[in-house]
């Protein structure tokens, strides 16, 4: 059990989820039936209450909340379990709702998304083309930076004002 726990914690520290399939394949040299039993014990034990499970379509994933936030885990889980357009759109929706703010396209070049310019352009096009994401809109700051927002949660004027502030305004008011 200790080995699995350590593996999950160390992976969380570097921003990775541990998948059940990987453990079952014997990555820790523990037999498959034993893995199932240990995971069940970990999830029910008070002592390892920091370990959480995310159940996907084809696999399950584990992380430690001591080292990884729920929000980050959710994103990397979706990156594994959903298509990228949905992951990005949900990310944008969430930001438009809770902060509220539009999301810089540039964010998707960083961890954990790590998309390059060309990939992002293609993803943007697919988001634009799909009815499923028709609330996702684009807005530009005066320095040309591209932002996305969800019009369910925010008006275009609001989104434009906010991205202008982050890109330009805040540096004029340091």
């Amino acid at each position: 059990m200790k080995r699995i726990l350590e593996h999950i914690k160390n992976s969380s520290k570097v921003g990775e989820l541990v998948s059940k399939s990987e453990l079952l394949k014997g990555s820790l040299e523990i037999e498959a039936p034993e893995i199932e039993k240990l995971l069940a014990e970990i999830l029910s034990s008070e002592e390892s209450s920091d370990i959480k499970e995310l159940i996907g379509m084809t696999d399950s994933f584990y992380y430690s909340t001591d080292y990884m936030s729920d929000a980050y885990a959710e994103v990397i889980f979706k990156l594994k379990d959903e298509n990228i357009e949905k992951t990005i759109s949900d990310y944008v929706r969430k930001e438009s709702k809770i902060y509220p703010r539009p999301t810089a396209l540039e964010v998707f070049k960083l961890n954990p998304f790590k998309k390059n310019d060309q990939e992002l352009e293609e993803i943007s096009k697919r988001i634009e083309a799909s009815d499923e994401f028709k609330d996702i809109q684009k807005v530009l700051a005066s320095n040309g930076a591209v932002y996305l927002y969800s019009d369910i949660h925010m008006t275009k004027g609001h989104a434009r004002g906010l991205c202008e502030w982050v890109e330009v305004g805040q540096f004029e008011n340091p």
């Binding site: 902060y99 961890n111 008011n173």
Partner: protein
């Protein structure tokens, strides 16, 4: 004498006319805590009504507080108080500097220095513990801050701190600084020292600040703050990029540490900031990589390290080594933060050409400009120096008001070509008061009057003039609408208050911010989502009061208001709650007396009300609402196609702002019609003597 805890227990009075140096007990200022509080009290009591900034009768107070030098994080700030020359009434103002000066002053055994009178020859003040002397400064008079600092440090030793003025201060340029440690500047008061022919103050102390707390009490508080509360610069509590440890992130956050980002020119090879997660106390100093935040990605490879003030784990000053600066006749080393780097970019309003690689022009202009301005000791009036240059040039006014010879001698071609070499000529003219153009150094109010700048200047949304008194917005209407606006109306220069903007900019979602505000003022309605403002309410007035008095508290204790108060925390386990009683916990441990958040807030309210009383006295009117607290028109007229209180605009509404002022005056216990402090409020705050003096001057509201 009883042992004094926290406070050093005495202050220095230096009379330059008589060449006399005396000490006095600090105890008479205890109700005013220290720093800003001592400054206002001395100026109110001792500087006669009608005095102007450069008059011999004006005084200047360098003051620190009971927490300065105590080891509390971010506690080495010096508060400087005097009449403010760029203000049209020369009404009182504060300037602040970080660095080591404040702590050294305490270690030398002093809580403040009151400078009065005027010397008839250049002198500098040498404070070496108990040995305090006025020394001849003829060898450094006429020199820049760097040379002066080097020469005086060679006399006093490496462990001293030198606060000096440059040529701008000597020449009584209104916009000039006092600076210690070569980059920690206090803007606006350099000319006062120049008028008194006091070139510098050098201080060396090797005593301790006495701490009343037993055993490890102080260390425990420090550890608590470092582990559970502190964020990055400006108390931003989420990282600027998504990171595994963080629930939230925000592109505007100054918590910029991330994988792959380095101090590229560090001795011995690049040092990676890496991920510096919340709670990791040994990596707090890596969190704020301000070089690239201020100057763009080009700055990474020139960054030697992040520096900062004594006793501050945050390190918000980027220290760079840019060899190419030598080609401009400058040292390759430059250090600064925020406005120190931004203001030269404002001067280069045509833009910046690339110097060594694509996109590095901004960094070169910033570094060259900061190096020059910091040596001459030129201040920028929070960026307006560049704005005023732009207006005079682009409107064609300079062609009319500058003699043709002078106009033609200015290398406008360099400005047009976006060449930072323009800055070399520009700052020299300002510092040495060369010609008509140098009046830019008088400050916005004075140049606008002199050169007849019209409404297109005052009401220009791009320029951001906040007040007809000649100062700009500084975390104003864009910072929680009326709340930031109220804060910006209350001082005699740009508001230097970070209490509110740090919460708004913390990076936390609005619901959490609303919960925090509800705990402070009694309702979540005190704060709105950014750029989605609602009409005024009493909770916003309370929040404005809270933000200002915390600021006054920090400038009196002295703590850095870029970091304090600990309104929020980076930890989810604390539900992101900070600890607003932390100042009082430190005060109790350091002084051994029982302080609470409420008792300190009350003292700060006293200090802020004294500032108001002093402003009434300086302006010789009680009508603060109309004569002092007004805003320029752009605040109300911007975004012409949309109404105030529409998402996306921070446009304010004229009537609503009058309501805001009334509600704020009420919160402060000031006269609701005029905004002047009433006798009842002054007496409630123990300022009966102030009320009596105002009554004699016929300056109490009816």
């Amino acid at each position: 004498m009883n042992k004094s805890y926290g406070w050093a227990g005495k202050l220095l009075r230096v009379n330059l006319t008589a060449g006399k140096i005396t000490t006095e007990p600090t105890s008479k200022y205890k109700d005013f805590i220290g720093g800003m509080g001592i400054g206002y009290k001395v100026i109110f009591d001792e500087v006669p009504a009608g005095t102007k900034a450069f008059d011999e009768a004006n005084k200047i107070v360098f003051a620190v507080g009971p927490l300065t030098g105590s080891g509390a994080p971010s506690s080495s700030r010096t508060n400087i108080t005097s009449l403010f020359p760029s203000n049209p009434y020369n009404a009182v103002g504060d300037s602040h500097m970080g660095g080591n000066f404040a702590a050294q002053l305490k270690y030398a055994g002093y809580d403040a220095i009151i400078i009065e009178g005027k010397s008839n020859r250049p002198v500098w003040l040498k404070i070496d513990n108990d040995k305090v002397t006025l020394e001849d400064a003829s060898k450094v008079w006429g020199k820049g801050i760097k040379d002066t600092t080097a020469q005086l440090a060679s006399v006093m030793g490496k462990d001293s701190s030198i606060a000096a003025i440059g040529q701008a201060g000597e020449n009584m340029v209104n916009l000039s600084v006092i600076m210690n440690g070569l980059s920690h500047s206090a803007g606006g008061h350099g000319g006062i020292l120049g008028s008194k022919m006091l070139k510098a103050i050098g201080v060396r102390g090797n005593r301790a600040v006495n701490i009343a707390g037993k055993g490890r009490e102080l260390l425990k508080l420090n550890n608590y703050m470092m582990k559970d509360l502190i964020g990055a610069n400006n108390q931003h509590v989420v990282p600027s990029t998504p990171q595994p440890w963080a629930e939230f992130s925000h592109k505007g956050s100054r918590w910029t540490a991330r994988e792959g980002l380095t101090w590229g020119a560090a001795e011995g090879g690049p040092i990676e900031t890496g991920i510096a997660a919340a709670g990791d106390v040994n990596r707090v100093g890596y969190r704020t990589m301000k070089a690239t935040f201020d100057l763009g990605p080009s700055a990474e490879k020139y960054t030697v390290r992040m520096g900062g003030c004594q006793s501050c784990p945050i390190r918000c000053m980027s220290q760079l080594r840019i060899p190419k600066l030598e080609e401009y006749g400058l040292s390759p080393y430059v250090a600064n933060s925020c406005m120190g780097y931004f203001s030269p970019q404002r001067v280069m309003f045509k833009g910046n050409k690339d110097i060594e690689e694509k996109g590095d022009g901004k960094m070169f202009a910033a570094a060259i400009g900061a190096s020059l301005a910091d040596d001459y000791g030129v201040w920028c009036n929070y960026g307006l120096l560049g704005t005023d240059l732009k207006h005079g040039y682009e409107s064609g006014i300079f062609k009319k008001v500058l003699p043709a010879d002078e106009y033609n001698s200015i290398p406008w071609n360099l400005l047009e070509e976006k060449d930072p070499a323009f800055l070399i000529d520009f700052y020299r003219r300002i510092a040495f008061k060369e010609g008509e153009l140098a009046h830019l150094g008088d400050g916005a109010y004075w140049v606008a009057k002199r050169w007849d700048f019209g409404d297109d200047y005052w009401n220009n949304v791009k320029y951001g003039l906040w007040s007809k008194l000649g100062f700009p917005k500084h975390h104003s209407n864009e910072t929680n609408g009326q709340v930031g606006s109220l804060i910006s109306c209350m001082f005699n220069r740009d508001a230097q208050s970070h209490t509110l903007v740090n919460l708004v900019g913390s990076g936390l979602p609005i619901e959490i911010q609303k919960e925090v505000v509800a705990e402070i003022v009694g309702s979540p309605d005190g704060i709105d989502p950014q750029l989605n403002y609602t009409p005024m309410n009493e909770y916003k007035a309370r929040l404005a009061k809270w933000a200002i008095i915390k600021n006054c508290l920090h400038d009196s204790l002295t703590l850095c208001n870029w970091m304090w108060p600990m309104t929020v925390s980076p930890h989810k386990s604390r539900n992101y709650r900070g600890d607003l009683a932390l100042e009082s916990k430190f005060m109790t441990v350091v002084t051994g007396e029982n302080y609470t958040e409420q008792s300190l807030d009350l003292a700060a309210e006293r200090i802020f009300t004294l500032h108001r009383a002093l402003t009434v006295k300086n302006m010789n009117t009680v009508d603060m609402r109309n004569e002092h607290d007004g805003m320029t028109d752009w605040v109300f007229d911007k975004d012409p196609d949309i109404k105030a209180f529409t998402p996306g605009t921070d446009k304010m509404d004229r009537e609503d702002m009058q309501v805001a002022l009334t509600m704020f005056y009420k919160e402060m216990g000031w006269d609701e019609k005029t905004g002047a402090p009433t006798r009842a409020t002054l007496e409630r705050l123990g300022l009966g003597d102030v009320a009596n003096q105002l009554a004699k001057l016929n300056l109490l509201p009816a």
